[in-house]
């Protein structure tokens, strides 16, 4: 298979994918992930890059049974929207959890994991995923 993922493309996204960098608007104070050059709420260009908190709660999730080529070994995929402690929402995968254990509002924390291998010789893509916070 030919190269599908360019190294530069993966490198460019290192801040947002590994460190959960978002953009915070210095005018209206709202934070949005992934970062944008202009605040989508007030159109201000006065935005700065901030790191998001690494803990949050599950807002909604799905268990995806039909998965694309390159993800078969991970099927079924558990995908979710997580609301972080500062209220910013991110889309990600839930790991180290069984589908039937997931609840709305479940507390989760960020972990760095592999998401995709571009064949045997291509780039390996890493990104932030979320796992349940073990209590007790």
């Amino acid at each position: 298979m030919s190269m599908r993922m360019s190294p530069a493309r993966v490198w460019r996204a290192r801040g947002s994918r590994y460190r959960l960098e978002a953009s915070r608007c210095k005018d209206c104070g709202r934070t949005v992930y992934p970062p944008r050059p202009v605040c989508p709420y007030c159109r201000s260009r006065n935005v700065e890059i901030v790191e998001l908190p690494r803990k949050g709660r599950v807002v909604t999730w799905t268990v995806q049974y039909t998965v694309p080529h390159g993800y078969r070994s991970k099927a079924p995929l558990i995908l979710a929207i997580v609301e972080l402690e500062n209220g910013t929402r991110v889309f990600s995968e839930l790991v180290d959890v069984e589908p039937e254990e997931i609840r709305e509002g479940m507390e989760v924390e960020a972990v760095l994991r592999k998401v995709y291998e571009d064949g045997d010789e291509g780039v390996i893509v890493y990104a932030t995923k979320f796992r349940p916070i073990k209590t007790g």
């Binding site: 909604t60 799905t62 995806q64 694309p68 080529h69 995908l79 929207i81 889309f91």
Partner: protein, 372 residues
């Protein structure tokens, strides 16, 4: 229009010609000055760009201006909006809009990967997310916030299949029951197979002309009374409220204002229902039901043929079929035929019709109001 089906024997040229020549033959000598093509996946599946030239040449319009309009599953509606603006601006007195999509040549996994390109490549698709999974996130939240019952939501596909039985252009002309929907395989929990539109090939064509020219070309021209477009964030997580389809609301507001109507004036509409949850958000975004109430309206038997509005007498994306980039053109053609009284399936009649098409998870929307 062509019947939506697995057209293994037809390539894009022949499929486009079948629809376009029918549209030309329906007029008294139309001579379109430009061609607008609605299509999503010619590039990802067929390695084919420059689609405007392929279509214009295939339908005998070599030499005329041509372009493709892409807005994922909303490409067709956006192509109609562009075609409308070419005429309304005065640049051309008549244009052809062709919606075309071929999806059946490839295995489902390849087509699914192509469809996923409607979502955010860097922050959603990279995790392996399918288009169904993204809609499933919205559906679970909808059921949780509004207490919507799974079996009530299943009434939508049941109604769509019932309507499609009568439509000779529909892909899935058979009835299903609520039990069958609830027993069908899970694609992305809570979305099941019978919540989802099928994969199919199809083409549809329209001729848009200035009012003066239209009256010469046809004894029963239908007026485009309102056009609206809207967008939302490409990714789901950053949206202000996943259950507030702002692209639909914005597009509808413009189209209603331009046509001088309210949602309650609409007699018949073809709305976007790629998944059952999409139908609910479309109904609410268009103002046919209050937010969070559309599933209740389904329980009460609303939106069937004869109701005001009647929704998707064609069978909708769910059962008429969803050749993605062509769908929005099918919808406008179907509504035009409803208002003319010659739709070959369930006839709803009426004075005011509406077509609503969206790409992504209500990411790029058009609303088009037609008047007899």
């Amino acid at each position: 229009m062509t019947k939506i089906d697995r057209h293994y024997d037809k390539d894009m040229r022949s499929l486009a010609a079948e629809a376009a020549l029918k549209a030309l033959d329906d007029t008294k000598g139309a001579d379109p000055k430009a061609v607008v093509v609605g299509n999503m996946m010619s590039s990802s599946l067929y390695q084919q760009d420059s689609l405007g030239a392929l279509v214009a040449d295939a339908i005998g319009l070599r030499g005329r201006g041509a372009l493709k309009v892409e807005a994922s599953c909303g490409s067709g509606g956006h192509a109609v909006a562009v075609g409308y603006s070419l005429v309304a601006s005065g640049l051309y007195d008549q244009v052809m809009v062709v919606g075309i999509e071929k999806m059946c040549d490839y295995p489902t996994s390849v087509v699914t990967a192509g469809l996923a390109q409607a979502a955010d490549a860097e922050y959603e698709v990279v995790y392996g997310a399918s288009f169904a999974a993204l809609n499933a996130l919205v559906m679970r939240l909808y059921m949780s916030r509004y207490g919507a019952k799974r079996e009530s939501i299943a009434l939508w596909p049941v109604m769509m299949h019932e309507n499609a039985v009568h439509n000779p252009y529909a892909q899935l002309r058979f009835r299903v029951t609520v039990e069958a929907v609830l027993r069908s395989p899970v694609i992305a929990d809570p979305i099941r197979l019978l919540d989802a539109a099928p994969i199919g090939d199809g083409a549809a064509a329209l001729i848009l002309a200035s009012e003066e020219v239209a009256r010469k070309l046809s004894d029963a021209p239908v007026l485009i009374a309102g056009v609206g477009m809207g967008s939302d964030a490409l990714d789901l997580a950053s949206r202000q409220d996943l259950l507030d389809p702002i692209s639909i609301r914005y597009a509808a507001k413009q189209a209603y204002a331009m046509a001088g109507i309210e949602p309650r004036n609409v007699d018949v509409a073809e709305i976007h229902d790629a998944f059952s949850i999409t139908a609910l958000l479309s109904i609410e975004g268009l103002g046919f039901a209050e937010p969070g109430k559309s599933w209740k309206e389904l329980e009460e038997g609303r939106y069937r043929p004869g109701d005001k509005p009647s929704l998707n007498p064609s069978g909708g994306l769910k059962a008429r079929g969803h050749p993605v980039g062509a769908t929005g053109v099918y919808q406008v053609a179907e509504i035009a035929m409803q208002l003319r009284g010659d739709f070959p399936g369930i006839k709803c009649g009426g004075e005011i019709g509406l077509a609503m098409n969206t790409g992504g998870v209500a990411t790029l929307t058009t609303v088009i109001v037609l008047r007899r």
